[in-house]
């Protein structure tokens, strides 16, 4: 139904106002595009992980069914085969399902933005739709919100989205740590005027607001106390916007922020602030735990274990204890409040289960203490163990007398030898990916003769993410959590082996090398054929994401390609600076996308230096490029000096590289001086320097 058509004439009260001609559609993005659930998600996608012993996706689907959705497009990437299989076997694929569900897999989707672009291309969306991720737990009736949205669309054609928000106090357990955002709303707290993702690390940095905002809205409400439910009613105009802005990845940081910042769009976004009902998104282990907590305590009713969403037999007893039939408890076992126990599980004598969630067919030994522990199916826990708020995945085996601290993760099928103490940060898995082995991020821990374990040490990510992602007792105070701006790009998708079907490569080649080669070739080719920089960015981005490369790799490849290109172009001494200037100027946007901080600058310079090593006129080029980068503000004093002073990282310098570096000496000296007496006019000086060359 077009937003303008006869809403009032709908005959039925309630559910689906939009008469048969228009189906209410929903888009589920069943991929988190991050690695916060590693190493569990190495084997199973997040949306199929059990939450209160029911796969997470079930909650989302039930929620959409409750909302009267009639068609669902489910986009998945990581473990798409498992998701497809699950959906096909589920009740949602039957004729009796309240909606049609279509699982769409695309290897190219690496972010929400990609999904939206895909969506735009697919032309499957005709009307305003509901956009959620595959890990929403909510019991709010969407009908009212949809109605409001429609009414708004009638009144305001530029309204493109209604976001569901919940107010939440800062100390609330369910508040995602490190996910802080500032919403600026209008006086009536209906319209979202501005969105700013808050990075803890640079909280002092100024926030830019559109100039007109203050004029148009003399009274604004600045609120940071929102829990973003990530439930959006999105206009069909939105996917094309993503196509227009092909670099938008994130639905909030990029899209929402971008659309509101840029007045040219003239679009408006509204907020629906929930007054009742429950909505939450499993964004991290911390929120997983928090939402599980809420489910157990009936906040999400009717979506609680005793509703038996997935054909279980849970019964509710006082104190929020849920037990399935055929649970065998020893006479002296104690089940305390807020516990969930699945069918076929047996619990030994004197075992205390308090606030724990236990899946099906588990064997819990004697004298075990489970405090808020999350145990999935078919787990064996030996006698005299003590487990905190940790996750024990399917088929894991914990030997006698083990202690598992809160926050630990024992992934599928892992066996822990008896008497082991597992610290808080430990993550154990049987899975390993080649890449990770190569990069040495896993330490093999041999726990017994038969089983070798891999201790998952996700050292790649900043430790903030680690800390943020961990559970329970490990909740870091919010201010310690940090999301680097790149985390979303940087974030891995969840498949370890997916690149098998990707670009061909020899098995001996490491992924980084492979990426480097491809990126180098692609960039050099593009430069030679004078493609537009946008295309280069796009290609590079695609490569980076498909290879899961780090930015450092990107810089290395870029440096190599640029240098090759420049060297090939330079024919005489005279045109050196011209070529350098032209190339750098052209590639400005590209550089902008890979340099974020001082270290990056230094690193890039380092790569350039290395590439130039042994090249003819290496020193000159180094100086020219350095200057140009400096002039274009890609490099600042600090970066330059850092490079200069710290050398080229751990690899050290070859004599050739030192030679190259010396070529830039004059320029660097000049910068140093500039740094000391800051009042000098940079441009003039630099021109002089250039002339000198």
């Amino acid at each position: 139904m077009a937003p303008t058509s006869k809403r009032g004439s709908a005959k039925k009260t309630g559910v689906l106002e939009e008469a048969p001609e228009a189906l209410l559609q929903a888009v589920i993005i069943a991929d988190s595009f991050n690695r916060r659930f590693r190493p569990i998600t190495l084997e199973k996608p997040r949306c199929l992980l059990p939450l209160a012993n029911t796969p997470i996706i079930e909650y989302t689907l039930e929620f959409l069914a409750l909302g009267g959705v009639e068609e669902i497009l489910l986009y998945c990437h990581a473990h798409h085969d498992q998701i497809t299989e699950y959906i096909r076997e589920s009740k949602w694929s039957k004729d009796s399902s309240p909606f049609q569900i279509r699982v769409i897999y695309s290897p190219s989707i690496m972010s929400v933005g990609d999904v939206m672009r895909e969506l735009d291309q697919s032309r499957l969306i005709k009307e305003d739709f509901i956009l959620v991720s595959g890990d929403i737990v909510s019991n709010i009736p969407l009908q009212g919100i949809l109605k409001e949205h429609k009414a708004r669309r009638l009144a305001d054609k530029n309204c493109i989205m209604t976001s569901v928000l919940r107010e939440i106090s800062p100390r609330h357990d369910s508040r995602p740590r490190g996910e802080n955002a500032l919403f600026i709303l209008d006086q009536n707290r209906e319209r979202i005027l501005h969105y700013e993702y808050l990075k803890q690390s640079d909280s002092e940095s100024p926030m830019l607001l559109p100039r007109e905002l203050g004029k148009a809205f003399p009274t604004m409400s600045f609120q940071e106390n929102f829990l973003d439910c990530c439930i959006d009613i999105v206009s069909f105009e939105v996917p094309p916007l993503f196509t227009e802005n092909f670099d938008w990845q994130h639905s909030r940081k990029d899209f929402l922020h971008g659309i509101l910042m840029d007045e040219l769009y003239g679009k408006t976004v509204y907020a629906h602030i929930l007054k009742s009902g429950y909505a939450g998104r499993i964004q991290s282990l911390q929120t997983y735990d928090a939402i599980l907590h809420d489910i157990t305590r009936k906040w999400t009713h009717p979506f609680s274990p005793d509703t038996n969403l997935n054909q279980q037999t849970y019964k509710y007893t006082r104190g929020h204890i849920y037990k399935e039939s055929k649970v065998i408890l020893a006479q002296s076992a104690v089940i305390k409040d807020n516990s969930i126990i699945g069918s076929g599980t047996s619990v030994g004598d004197k075992t205390i289960i308090s606030g724990a969630t236990i899946g099906r067919n588990c064997i819990i030994g004697k004298n075990v203490e489970l405090h808020s522990t999350i145990v999935w199916d078919n787990v064996v826990i030996g006698d005299n163990c003590s487990l905190g708020n940790c996750i024990i995945a399917n088929e894991a085996h914990i030997g006698d007398g083990c202690t598992v601290e809160s926050g630990a993760i024992i992934s599928f099928g892992v066996t822990i030898e008896k008497g082991t103490d597992i610290p808080t940060t430990a993550r154990y898995t049987k899975m390993s990916t080649k890449k990770e082995k190569e990069s040495g991020r896993f330490t093999q821990v041999v726990h017994s003769k038969t089983k070798s374990l891999i201790e998952y040490e996700d050292s790649e990510d900043d430790e903030d993410e680690q800390r943020e992602a961990s559970m329970g007792g490990l909740y870091a105070p919010e201010d310690e959590s940090d999301y680097s701006d790149i985390s979303d790009f940087e974030d891995d998708d969840e498949i370890p082996g997916k690149r098998k079907k990707g670009h061909a490569r020899t098995s001996s080649e490491s992924e980084a090398d492979s990426f480097f080669r491809e990126a180098y070739n692609s960039l050099l080719g593009a430069l030679k054929q004078s493609h537009s920089v946008d295309i280069m960015i796009l290609e590079l981005n695609g490569l980076r994401m498909s290879a899961n490369a780090e930015f450092s790799e990107v810089r290395r490849a870029t440096a190599a390609a640029v240098i090759s290109y420049i060297v090939s172009k330079i024919t005489s001494n005279e045109n050196t600076s011209k070529v350098v200037d032209a190339t750098v100027e052209k590639l400005l946007p590209l550089f902008n996308r890979m340099i974020f901080e001082v270290n990056d600058q230094a690193e890039l310079l380092g790569y350039i230096q290395r590439e130039l090593a042994g090249k003819e006129r290496g020193g000159t080029l180094m100086q020219a490029i350095g200057m140009k980068l400096y002039n274009e503000d890609l490099c600042d004093d600090e970066g330059l000096l850092k490079w200069w002073n710290e050398g080229n990282g751990p690899q050290g310098e070859t004599p050739e590289m030192t030679k190259v570096r010396d070529g830039a000496k004059a320029f660097v000296k000049w910068v140093e001086e500039q740094d000391e007496d800051e009042d000098s006019e940079e441009e003039e000086e630099s021109e002089e320097e250039e002339d000198d060359e």
Binding site: K12, L16, S96, R166, H301
Partner: protein
Amino acid sequence: MVVADEYPPALAKFLKSVTSVKADDATEILTGLLKRREIKSSRNVAKAVTKLLLRFVSQNRHTKLSESQGLIKDVKDLGKTIIAAQPRELVIGNIVRRVLGIIREECHDSNPLLGFADLPLGGRLSRASSIGDESADLGSNPGSGTATPYSGRPFSRDGGEEDIDAMSRRKSKAYIPPNPRDLTRQGSIALPNPNFGENNLQHALFFLLRLQPEELPNDSPGLKPQSKEPFQDKDIRGDVIEGIKELMDELELVDEQVAAHSETHIHANEIVMVLGSSPTLQAFLMKAAVKRKFTVVMIEAYPNDSRATQDVLKAPSKFTTPTGLKQMGKNAAKDEPLTTAEMKATLTSVGVETILIPDSAVPAVMSRVNKVLMGTHVILRNGSMITTAGARTVARCAQEHSVPVVVVSGVYKLSPLYPFDPDSMLETGESSTVIGWADSEMVGNAEIINPTMDFVPGELVDHYITNVGGYTPQNLYKLVEEQYGNANDTLE
């Protein structure tokens, strides 16, 4: 039929769609709706289940009399599926059992020999149990009409007097099996056991000395099926559907029938304390208001029912069944169509003085109240009931003040189940109705429990008013027997 507006959207949608999809799919749809609590009140659930059963029976492959076993089994299985979706909605079981009763009655009417053939009767039963083999249920043979000579009334000899009694007590639409005293043995675990009653108890009593089939008197009619006229395999589907439709009508007319008793229970100038917002209750009050002037003290029923309770006072009455409306207005005597104003009548607009009090004020006000009136979610066989949270407090308080507690309810809410574990029958609702989730101080530090239902033991209730008359909690078992006979169908 009734206007669609009366129904909540989910129910309206379901009722609309049920006729166009396969019965199996409709079952799954209903299962989903029940799980998501999109259909909630016992009336709406009853309507949905009845409609589903209608669809199911009309689509079932068993239509013939000889196939009634299959039909009964299918209906039972269906019942189990729906009950599993919402085990605390006991009304589902009631409706399914009623439909099973309809089928059995049709079988019996068509062929007395075959009637209730799925229930182990008389001699057959004795034999089965005498050899200690509970599964030796001959009635499960298909086409058992001729195969089981004992399935008729082999015990008319020593059970004759009860049969006559049973028949004479046969009232309204309730069915009584001709020889129900033998039904106790059905199923290895006769639970929940709805077949208490004289016949049942008698059976149990004399079970010890029961005759064995071999020694049945020769002149017993049951022994000579061959002598009867040739067996006619009639199509019973039409009749069963007719029966289910009657059940649907019953659901539509319940309010009106219950309301008919209102004048005898609400007297002039009485102060009636009211808990709950059920349409039956509203209809009852509205009907009384036509003739009487009285005061209603509404209990707020915070937090789960407070809004619904307020709606009773301010929103248009839901008492909109066609005949009910006609009787409601001042022009009830004349057969005039109702005006909009009358349709929108609320308690206040028909001249009832209404007072809304918070739950905490109940004890304070109780001493001035003449009567407590409640709706209910479900009534259990032992006279207890499950109803709006807070009802137990109110009933207990009323008892303390010797104020009679009267409960109005359709008979379809009467469940043959016994509350072995009342706690397990109570639904616990969203915690957020009690306290805002955003309130982290509370959420983090206090456990919040929000039972939406209350179990009220029979001794706190004085009287149940149903559409088939008034009963004391102690006498309800008789009504249970009338409604469900002794068919002891284990569905839960």
